[in-house]
């Protein structure tokens, strides 16, 4: 029989509508402007751990057709608005990530992303906590550094530990992993993180914010020099589920270009499709991005936690296998 029914109950759909309403009220009261930016772009994600969906536009301006990519997040377009002087902005939109499907992943998902000029990332953490307390009724969040969590759970210093040390730690904990991880240091860190640490984060429904990531995982966050230098990046976990990722945003256009180039190098090494770097973002950064922090929250996961559901499909009207 052809499966046409939704996988989420009508109650979940009603709660989703309520959640969206509560979020819009939260930002309206704080004077944050709701915006919309294109879902389709000529640029895809260069990040080697993101796989953009690709489609084709044919028509006026592109008679022979042109590749277009579905956004993996609205980040670049929103930063162009910030550079143009938009002030604080938020967006609720669909994001698309190929190759990601599972209990906590759907290839298309709903993202809430917002930016706060003048906020450092710690102020933004407070605002994220305010939002969670408002819409999820959570107790106040706790804060730990990435390094403190590695030290606490695994007795490892993640900023300096050798690959051999990380590999031994995985073996000591009975994690058998295929050999192809090789010399990918961040791959080993992610392995330990996802198998041994993540599940302990945000237990009992109390949000746990993790901050100050290894520089190699800075993505689009600013790096704070020091011993060790750290990426001013944070994530939020509740009941072991990754819910949000935020940055003290990188403003330096030249540094952003270097990171894009490094992404492209890693993509070539891994025989992944080559992606052009977003020159429009780089031009906006060169023009001047105000000092700001930004964060993205997975709204389907938020709703899942709100309803006590065990997997995303319980809160999606039509998950990917019914789309």
């Amino acid at each position: 029989m052809t499966e046409w029914r939704p996988s989420a109950g009508l109650e979940a759909l009603r709660r989703r509508a309520e959640l969206l309403g509560a979020i819009r009220t939260f930002f309206a009261e704080r004077g944050v402007l709701e915006v919309e930016t294109p879902v389709l772009s000529v640029y895809g994600a260069t990040d080697p751990h993101l796989d953009s969906f690709c489609t084709r536009y044919t028509g006026p301006g592109a008679a022979a057709g042109r590749a277009m990519y579905l956004q993996t997040s609205p980040e670049f377009a929103m930063k162009r608005l910030l550079a143009a002087g938009s002030g604080p902005i938020y967006q609720i939109c669909k994001a698309f990530r190929n190759n990601e499907a599972g209990r906590y992943h759907n290839p298309e998902f709903t993202m809430l992303e917002w930016y706060r000029p003048g906020f450092d990332y710690r102020s933004l953490m407070v605002e994220v906590d305010d939002l969670l307390r408002g819409v999820l009724n959570t107790p106040p969040a706790t804060l730990s550094s990435y390094a403190a969590l590695f030290a606490h759970h695994l007795q490892i210093e993640p900023h300096s530990a050798s690959i051999a040390r990380l590999r031994d730690c995985a073996a000591d904990h009975g994690i058998q992993v295929s050999a192809s991880l090789g010399e990918d240091r961040d791959g080993w860190l992610t392995l330990l993180w996802s198998h041994l640490i993540e599940l302990h984060l945000g237990g009992g429904g109390r949000p746990q914010i993790v901050c100050d990531y290894p520089v190699s995982q800075a993505m689009l966050a600013r790096v704070r020099p020091g011993e060790p230098a750290v990426a001013e990046r944070f994530e939020v976990y509740i009941d072991g589920v990754e819910l949000a990722n935020g940055f003290q945003e990188l403003q330096d256009s030249a540094e952003q270009r270097r990171r894009f180039e490094e992404n492209c190098r890693l993509r070539r090494m891994g025989s992944m499709p080559e992606m052009s770097m977003d020159e429009r973002l780089l031009a906006a950064l060169a023009h001047g991005l105000p000092a700001c922090s930004g964060v993205a929250v997975g709204l389907d996961r938020l709703l899942m936690l709100k309803l006590g559901a065990g997997e995303l499909r319980e809160v999606l009207a039509f998950p990917f296998d019914r789309a």
Partner: protein, 189 residues
């Protein structure tokens, strides 16, 4: 040889791992928003029956294992091999006691079993969920005791020993659940 990528992993898929045929039991996709994706897999070694956990980098491939489950009738044990036959084709297979494993203690002949073939050779034997076997030895039955409390060991015609209620006697035919090794009832005769 066919291969399966992590994107094809699902429960029941038969793959080769460390040179042994295995069956995937559980597959979970794990990926941080910004980082390497993994598949955490629970997998059963079909030779040893052991279940292990293994993590794969998403996108990796495993060789397919040529493993098929076939319904076969157990014919007889010649002292060296257990002989099975596919009823439709009369094709016969001989399996070593090691591969028959624990199933042997429930088999007297005629039972329909599932024989797992790897590269055309028997790898494992799953007996029927329920078998009916005659008691060949047990302490004398205690008439009237149907309380089910206590119990005693009883040896069955295949040599298997199961725990039975006190009222069971030599010569009784018992229904036994082979998955748990537990007595179910006296067979209706």
């Amino acid at each position: 040889m066919a291969t399966f990528s992590t994107n094809e992993f699902k429960s029941g898929l038969k793959v080769m791992l460390d040179g042994d045929p295995c069956a995937i039991i559980e597959n979970e996709f794990v990926k941080p928003g910004k980082g390497q994706a993994f598949n955490r897999v629970k997998i059963r070694n079909l030779k040893t029956g052991r279940v292990i956990e293994r993590t794969f980098k998403s996108g990796e491939n495993l060789e397919a294992a040529d493993v098929v489950d076939t319904d076969m009738q157990f014919l007889y044990n010649d002292g060296e091999f257990f002989h099975f036959m596919v009823p439709d084709t009369y094709e016969q297979f001989a399996s070593s006691p090691a591969n028959v494993g624990d199933a042997a203690k429930w088999l007297k002949g005629q039972e329909m079993c599932v024989v797992t073939l790897w590269n055309g050779q028997p790898l494992a034997v799953t007996p029927p969920n329920f078998v009916e076997l005659t008691v060949t030895d047990t302490d004398p039955g205690v008439r009237g005791d149907t309380s089910g409390g206590g119990g005693k060991p009883a040896t069955l015609e295949t040599g298997a020993v199961v725990r039975v209620p006190l009222f069971i006697d030599i010569g009784d035919v018992l229904k036994v659940d082979t998955r748990t090794g537990e007595y179910v009832s006296r067979a209706k005769t």
